[in-house]
């Protein structure tokens, strides 16, 4: 991917992330999050991984965002005023925590000697090679995700049902 296109995609992804946390209405946050997730998928493609780029767009920007949209429209769309100067002290704490975390991560990056990291290859990672790894050395985690999804499905059905547990 050319440098200018990569910088553009990165900028859009970052601005969409900013939009998620600054939008007054939850619907706008959800739409910004969709843009952000598509941008992350494009960045995965720039990192030469086809399968996860497509999976990111299908699973995240598709399925998870549908669930979010459903929740946003089910809950009443009240406007939540953005309190940047509230009396509860959380905005200040948020800024301090965010800047502190970024400072810590940036310090870690700058002292860890990234110059020794070289790009492994220029070609795209074929889905078949990722599949043979996923069904080879990573078979146990892969089956674990299946169990996790089944558990989440049962939990969601249990929570979403009208009857409470033990009603008979």
């Amino acid at each position: 991917m050319p440098d200018i296109l990569l910088a553009f995609v990165g900028g859009v992804t970052l601005l969409a992330a900013l939009g998620v946390i600054l939008s007054k209405e939850a619907v706008h946050s959800a739409l910004f999050l969709t843009v952000h997730l598509l941008g992350i998928g494009a960045l995965f493609l720039a990192l030469n991984h086809q399968f996860l780029a497509v999976a990111q767009m299908l699973v995240y920007a598709g399925a998870v965002m549908v669930v979010f949209m459903f929740a946003v429209t089910t809950l009443s769309p009240e406007e939540e005023p953005l309190k940047l100067t509230g009396s509860d002290g959380f905005p200040l704490l948020g800024m301090v925590a965010g800047l502190g975390a970024f400072g810590a991560i940036y310090w870690g990056l700058s002292t860890s000697g990234l110059s020794g990291h070289k790009a492994v290859s220029d070609g795209l990672v074929a889905p078949s090679s990722f599949a043979s790894d996923l069904f080879g050395p990573f078979l146990l985690p892969f089956e674990g995700t299946a169990f996790l999804l089944l558990t989440a499905l049962i939990g969601a059905v249990l929570l979403g049902g009208r009857r409470q547990i033990g009603d008979g």
Binding site: L6, G10, M95, G98, F102, H117, V120, D133, L148
Partner: protein, 109 residues
């Protein structure tokens, strides 16, 4: 210039910190959930970056599919977390007709 590990890692750090800020300053549980998704995606981006740009002495570091496999598991966990978390939020809304996280103090000691 832009196609370097520094570009992706600084972007990932910025997205993670935006998610952290959003999680703390917002009071709407849906937006707090979206902020958690931002942080998970930032971690995924870092995983993929280190998979594409491994350190030079990668003898003891496993296969190049380590990062993508972690990303795959994180995506699954994020989907499960979103489904269960949103179901909990909707159940709370049904019972209390409010989604203000500051009002949920029933379990406060």
């Amino acid at each position: 210039m832009a196609n370097s590990p520094e570009f992706f890692l600084v972007l990932s750090a910025l997205i993670f910190c935006l998610g952290l800020i959003g999680l703390i300053i917002r009071r709407n549980p849906l937006v707090m959930f979206m902020s958690i998704e931002l942080m998970l995606n930032a971690a995924n981006l870092a995983f993929m970056t280190f998979s594409r740009f491994p350190p030079a002495n990668r003898v003891s570091l496993g296969s190049p599919s380590d990062g993508p496999a972690f990303t795959f598991v994180v995506m699954t966990i994020a989907a499960a977390e979103a489904v269960v978390g949103l179901a909990i939020i909707i159940t709370i809304f049904r019972n209390r007709h409010s989604v203000d996280v500051d009002a949920l103090t029933s379990l406060k000691g």
